[in-house]
Amino acid sequence: MSGAPVSLAGEGLRRRLGKAGFELVVDRIEAPAGETLAILGPSGSGKTTLLELLGLLARPDAGRVLLGGSPVDTRNRAARLQMAAVFQRPYLFKGSVAGNVEYGLVARGISRREREPRVAAALERVGLAGYGSRSALELSGGEAQRVSLARALILEPKVLLLDEPLASLDRLLKRQLTRDFATILGEAGVTVIYVTHDQDEALVVAQQIAVMNEGRLVSSGPAEDIMGLAPDAWSANFLGIESASTGLVSGVDAGLVELISGVTTIYAVGNPAVGADVLFSVHPEDVLLFEPGTELPLTTARNRLPVRVLSVEPRGSSLYATLDANGVGLAASVSRAAAAELRVVPGAELLAVFKATAVRWRLGA
């Protein structure tokens, strides 16, 4: 990369599309230097509009973009030259693969002598060595997207903007390219804004996640926190997890936190102030179900709550059960075999077990 990576942030961004239509309102968003920020949200939530504003490809009605802490705008070519984008469709230009890959270098006035080895290296990096002389329009979808990535990476940008780069690919190719993208982006050490509606993709590539809905930022923070704790019903539904519950910190002892939610006590880890209001949640994968009265295996799991099964629905190869623990909403992901053995059906009374470390929480109710 050319120099150390820089942070990219947006402050007070506003953008209205159409006279009475969609409005984007984002008070603050930041991709820390050298990290990948995934902007996650359903179609029409404003992800691409936000990406265009942050990437200086469109002008906001209000607000500003900060690159490395300094305000920049669409007229600032020096700032634009520090960025490169890959879109959902590769949008390869008519001509050869090499012609596409070197396009940004030509725009920067780099000589042919310097371009040729860089094009070869960029193509090799994305697994397309020797493709330079082919027509760009004869490539498969996956190859075209790799060319599009090479076309951006060859510029050694400090900020890389990726707008659903894998959305138009089939599932198998997508899985493979998600891994490849994560590796390439990790090696590149570049600041990345990665727009996607796919949570799995976001989790693989991003350290930070911002969730958007209807032009607004719903939540943002470290990927694990965001994906494990839904602050409202919409986020829960979108992320496919249960809404976070509210609780009160009733005690903290050597990093073990006691939370009271209604009549239920939950144990977590951390160091919040006693008396603080918190939102907490437990990832379904971390919740184990047992029949009441079963002798539990030797475990360090501190949380053992009697629960009633509210609903059961298939999700991929396993079943997703929503649970009520005396007013606290939980969910468990169980295999089909385990569900049959335990008779996990609506109305069933079971025991939910999970570790204190599995409880994700944050201050604020």
């Binding site: 490169a84 008519k94 082919r134 027509s135």
Partner: protein, 235 residues
């Protein structure tokens, strides 16, 4: 059918004998229509590019004017230009009426809306995301415009063909502003009209065949350019 056979025979004899000075007429036609097409491209492509890509108040009106201009009767253009260049007209002092310059002016007015309309339609079909992609790679505005024209080159070739075809085969405007002066402003179409009126079908038909050959040759070149571009894209 005898009239056609006789005219064809006479036309062939005239062309092969070299007694009929057809080359001066052909060269005048090519010079006037070639210049008019080039100027129309220089005016029409940038304007078509702007109207095709930019969103501004009055864009719809501009497109309507271009599209209406494509069907503008050449005699109307000839009349307006003749009036403007006549002694009492606003440009009468330039003494351009009945000159090749006047013919070029009239043909530019005929061809420009065609080039503008086809260019605007072609470039507006290039996805916005493709231009955004170029911009995101650091391309300056002029480079993005060049890329857009390159992506729309099939349409641009069609614009050249339509523009040249409209002026090389046009007769009304050049007759009115050029006057069909032998050795000066006589072009193939005006000469064909004159020889037909005189009943000299052999002369008229020989010129018509040459005109057709030129139009076909130009279109062969342009079509070859289009198909080779297509072949490369589909490779």
């Amino acid at each position: 059918m005898g009239i056609y056979v006789d005219a064809l025979r006479e036309g062939w004899e005239l062309l092969s004998s070299g007694t009929f000075d057809i080359w001066a007429i052909i060269l005048t036609s090519l010079r006037v229509s070639g210049a008019a097409t080039m100027i129309a491209l220089l005016i029409g492509i940038p304007i078509g590019l702007v109207v095709g890509l930019k969103r501004f108040v009055g864009r719809g009106v501009a497109l309507l004017v271009f599209n209406s201009g494509m069907g503008m009767p050449p005699v109307f253009v000839g009349l307006i230009v003749a009036m403007a260049l006549s002694r009492r007209g606003p440009f009468g002092d330039l003494s351009l009426l009945y000159s090749q310059t006047a013919m070029v002016i009239a043909q530019v007015i005929i061809a420009s809306p065609i080039v503008m309309a086809i260019t605007a339609a072609s470039v507006s079909a290039v996805p916005r995301a493709l231009r955004l992609q170029a911009k995101s790679l650091g391309a300056q505005s002029w480079r993005v415009a060049l890329l857009t024209l390159r992506e729309a080159r099939m349409g641009l070739i069609a614009a050249v063909a339509a523009g040249f075809g409209s002026v090389i085969s046009e007769v009304g405007a050049v007759q009115m502003v050029g006057g069909n002066l032998e050795g000066e402003t006589r072009v193939m179409t005006t000469a064909i009209v004159q020889y037909t009126r005189m009943g000299r079908y052999g002369y008229a038909l020989s010129l018509a065949l040459v005109l057709m050959a030129i139009v076909i040759m130009v279109n062969i070149v342009l079509t070859t350019m289009q198909t080779s571009a297509q072949r490369w894209e589909k490779q």
